[in-house]
Symmetry: C2
Subunit: 190 residues, 2 copies
């Protein structure tokens, strides 16, 4: 049995994925969540901005945990990165190209206009960079190189999602995954 708070956060995440932060109204959220109109302010006294920050942080952590799971299952970090892109491409196709990442969808909308949400996206991206960078370091890549490579990988993921949704095709995203995998392999072997 999911709680009202959980239903609100899940509904907001879904709406952000298809129409972004500015395109989503609180009225849509309560309708989509099947929650009473006043309930958002009960759980999120700061209203839409506080709710959005919770959605960003909770979705971001879920993706980080997914990456850690894939990395644990894969034999090596290069293979894990390839598998992460393939999994993301499959998920995009299965959801008819609704954005699978509400963070990326919202990050560009809010970066210059909602400081608390910009900070939430930075915390999420830093969490991902720590996970990916830690795995790269464990594979023998120097700390500063690992940090830079982790940042490039996150850029490729987020830009790749954008292109896949625009093209309604995952061909490019899958090829980008292969390029990322080759970058990681090259960094490990030098």
């Amino acid at each position: 049995m999911t709680s009202t708070r959980e239903r609100i956060v899940a509904a907001t995440g879904e709406l952000f994925r298809s129409q972004g932060f500015n395109g989503t109204s609180l009225k849509q959220v309560t309708e989509h969540a099947g929650a009473p109109t006043g309930s958002i302010y009960h759980f999120f006294p700061g209203g839409k901005e506080e709710l959005a920050a919770a959605v960003l942080r909770e979705s971001g952590l879920a993706y980080q945990q997914l990456f850690e799971m894939i990395a644990d299952e894969s034999g090596d970090i290069a293979t894990a990165m390839g598998a992460f892109f393939t999994g993301a491409a499959d998920a995009l196709e299965e959801t008819d190209f609704i954005d699978i990442c509400p963070i990326g969808n919202v990050a560009r909308e809010v970066a210059s206009t909602h400081e608390s949400l910009r900070v939430a996206t930075v915390d999420v991206f830093n969490g991902w960079a720590n996970s990916i960078g830690g795995r790269l370091q464990a594979a023998g890549i120097a700390e500063s190189d690992a940090e830079e490579l982790a940042n490039t990988i996150i850029s490729a993921i987020e830009g790749g999602f954008m292109l896949a949704r625009a093209h309604r095709s995952t061909d490019g995203l899958r090829a980008t995954g292969a390029h990322v995998q080759s970058l990681v392999e090259a960094a490990i072997s030098t």
Copy 2:
């Protein structure tokens, strides 16, 4: 002397860069452009969606021309790609991290909600891919590899802009430019 139409398109592009498509109202556009309220519908009978498509197509073409200019000036395509990222990083810093690319800012917002704008972003991305892919082929890379690599480069640019704006730092974008340059060099030498 710029025309009213040009002022409207420029003002809309600036507003999209800082607050996106859904966050921008036509009232803000006319105020920002110093244009009469009715003038948008005079030039763009389809209203906000037709105006947005014009902004996307015209900004996209301007970036494509900028890339062609940098590629003409650089000795080779790998160096040109590095220079493009460096120039973009400089521009982001100079504009206090307002998005330098209205296309990327809008592309994720509209992909599932405004079909005519999704098509406009695809046309822009295809134009860029043709320019970059053509230069890669001229450097000896096979057509299908050049297409895939061009797509990865555009993903890295768009994702890199997102991260730079979130972090309010271009360090990662500059490092991503170096990674892209190394991918291009590796593809040319194989």
